[in-house]
Amino acid sequence: MSGDAELLDLAAGAFLLAAVGVLWRRDLTAQTSLLAVQGFALAAIAVILGADQAHPELYAVAAGVGVLRGAVLPALMRRAISARATDRETRPLMNVGASLLSAAALVLLAYAVSQPLVRLLGTASARALPMGLAVALIGLLILVTRRKALSQITGFLLLDNGITAIAFLAAAGVPLLVELGVSFDLLLAVLVLRVLTTRMRALFGDTDLDDLRELHD
């Protein structure tokens, strides 16, 4: 049991570190690789919980999560990155140092906010739950401070990974049908955003969201 708890902490730690890495690296290719790492860490969390709670259904969910979030979605992102050097986050609203400091603050916030839930559940896995919330908050931070369209997709995926991690850690995952529906919707949403990115490139030249200034009051 304690071995399992250690493994779980390790996987959750890798999960959080990958999110911090996305915040740190400005290169979109590196960010995409980190997203893949995070997807596999999420699958690992599901496998460990499945073994711990003798819940074989979780193995299947873990396989699905690994394929979708570790392989398919990062591959979709990678294909959207063009070969040009401009595909770096050149002018984020917040520099890297400030972003990392905010991430530290967000982790503390996540621990504070999730206390009622951790205390209620009282399980070993629930104690790792704030890490999932921290990843979700880091995803929101990226969504509001990055200007590239692809960075926003990254932020959205981090948010979603964080929420899925919370589902695993708090309740050993939502019912299978819901998990399937949620994953399908996520995949379609990323596909839609991907197509829109291509169209924006064709119309605006690049996908710096600063160019999105047509609509305002």
């Binding site: 009622p116 959205f156 589902a167």
Partner: protein, 496 residues
């Protein structure tokens, strides 16, 4: 029979989508969407009758559930969809203009339009019939996915930008709702509910006393914020004016008229659970804040508005804000008024949006200051637009007058005089702005400028459904008889 009634609203539009995908948009298929809409409406009426007689109907273990609220929403979806689908052929024909000769491109775009609108109807029906938080979430997120390309339908810079903002903001908002759902699920599982019951609206309401208050508070706030994003409530409302102004007019009508209310009823269902755990105070404060800030934002942005489609979008935000204030009041009278207001606003706003599409095609602009003397040049279009606006402003005999009056009474009776007074002050500001802008468009000297009237801007088949809908809003204001008992039962549902 029950199975058929619960599945038709999902299957009929999906079949229509298949028809469009397979055969494209042609004369023979143009009204497949209309047929699906008519089926949804007939189904909603049949369900309403059945539910009122025999109580709620479950299917698939409660994943789909028809109760009075769901039947009411289905009738709304069917009605607005009927209006939107009936006006779609004229819209698409005019959108490409008489000189457009892009046969192939138009065919592909029209095929996509037909299929996506039909899928949109199916997703909204699923949202209305969802008896389970998981299915509700999946359905609401699905509406975002299928409408993203409808918002970007015209393919201009502005349209693609609106589609991007729409998808990102709504997906993030609904992700917050998912987090809330998961937190509530964890609390419910901890309280001993089974896997399927822990997401079921009715089971959660029945076992609400076992839920942990602190965790439920967190979950409720997240769910109301998240579903509120899709209902056009602050703070995640920024997508609404962009998407409504860029989407094709019939799609704007569907979004304003029923998509926002479908998201809103999820808030009502969550509130019914939360109020048992936390008392009415928590959701009341949250909904009052969100509703009043939506009203304030809408009123302020209406004052200097330059685009008439955006003007209609902010008016929708204003009405959703008022409906949210009504839900915060939460008494039986207030809830009945909320449902009547949703029905009246949905119909009138759908007419206004569809007419704005005709104005846009005739005038080739959406700028308020470039449309002048419409009443003299196109009396029918101007008359319908003016009547729809009068209905939206709450003038009698239209039903919005009755529902706003009832909301004000309910608010003062519940001791919420100050917030209600603030809400109606904001509505007066919005009214002044809307009257000024609309008068500038409709009145004036026809010699002063503007284009000559297009002769067949609104032929008989296009104008009949719009006028019928306005007459219906007026009739609802005089007597809500066909739906009054349904509304009353739905209003009671929140008070077990």
């Amino acid at each position: 029979m029950n199975t058929l009634l619960l599945l038709t609203p999902l299957v009929a539009p999906l079949l229509a989508a298949l028809v469009y995908a397979a055969f494209g948009w042609r004369r023979a298929t143009a009204h497949a969407g209309t047929a699906a809409a008519a089926l949804i409406l007939a189904d909603g009426i049949a369900l309403a009758v059945r539910v009122m007689r025999h109580g709620a109907i479950d299917l698939l273990g409660g994943w789909l559930r028809a109760d009075p609220l769901a039947a009411f929403m289905l009738m709304g979806i069917g009605t607005i969809a009927l209006l939107a689908a009936a006006s779609s052929p004229a819209y698409l024909a005019a959108a490409h203009g008489p000189d457009a000769d892009l046969g192939q491109i138009n065919a592909a775009a029209n095929r996509r339009y037909g299929a996506l609108v039909a899928c949109f109807l199916a997703a909204m029906s699923a949202g209305a019939l969802a008896g389970n938080l998981g299915l509700a979430w999946i359905a609401i997120e699905a509406t975002t996915i299928v409408t993203a390309f409808l918002v970007g339908h015209t393919g201009t810079r502005a349209a693609v930008e609106a589609a991007w903002k729409y998808t990102v903001i709504c997906s993030v908002g609904i992700a917050l709702a998912l987090l809330g759902i998961i937190v509530l699920y964890a609390a419910a599982r901890h309280a001993g509910l089974s896997e399927s019951a822990a997401l079921d609206y009715r089971a959660l309401a029945a076992h609400a006393h076992a839920l942990d208050p602190a965790v439920t508070r967190m979950a409720t706030a997240l769910m109301i914020l998240g579903f509120g994003a899709k209902a056009g409530l602050a703070p995640l409302h920024a997508w609404l004016p962009d998407a409504h102004s860029q989407a094709p007019a019939p799609v704007s009508a569907l979004m304003s008229g029923v998509l926002l209310p479908v998201a809103f009823i999820q808030i009502l269902r969550v509130k019914a659970i939360a109020d048992q755990v936390l008392g009415a105070g928590f959701t009341r404060a949250l909904l009052l804040t969100m509703g009043l800030s939506a009203l304030a934002l809408a009123a302020l942005l209406l004052i200097a508005q330059r685009d008439y489609k955006r003007m209609l979008a902010y008016s929708t935000m204003e009405h959703m804000g008022l409906v949210t204030v009504g839900a915060a009041i939460g008494t039986r009278l207030a809830m009945a008024a909320v449902f009547l207001h949703i029905a009246g606003h949905g119909l009138a706003k759908a007419v206004a949006f569809i007419t704005s599409g005709h104005i846009q095609h005739a005038e080739r602009t959406t700028r308020i200051d470039q449309v002048k003397a419409l009443a003299a040049r196109q009396p029918v279009v101007a008359g319908i637009f003016a009547a729809a606006l009068l209905a939206l402003l709450g003038f009698p005999p239209f039903s919005l007058f009755a529902s706003e009056l009832a909301l004000a009474r309910a608010g003062f009776a519940a001791g919420l005089g100050w917030p209600v007074a603030a809400a109606f002050t904001l509505i007066l500001i919005a009214l002044a702005a809307l009257v000024t802008h609309t008068a500038a468009m409709l009145l004036g000297n026809p010699e002063g400028g503007g284009r000559p009237a297009a002769p067949d801007a609104l032929n008989l088949t296009a104008r009949t459904p719009l006028i019928t809908a306005l007459v219906a809003v007026g009739a609802l204001g005089i007597t809500a008889w066909p739906i009054s008992s349904l509304i009353a039962t739905a209003a009671q549902a929140g008070h077990p």
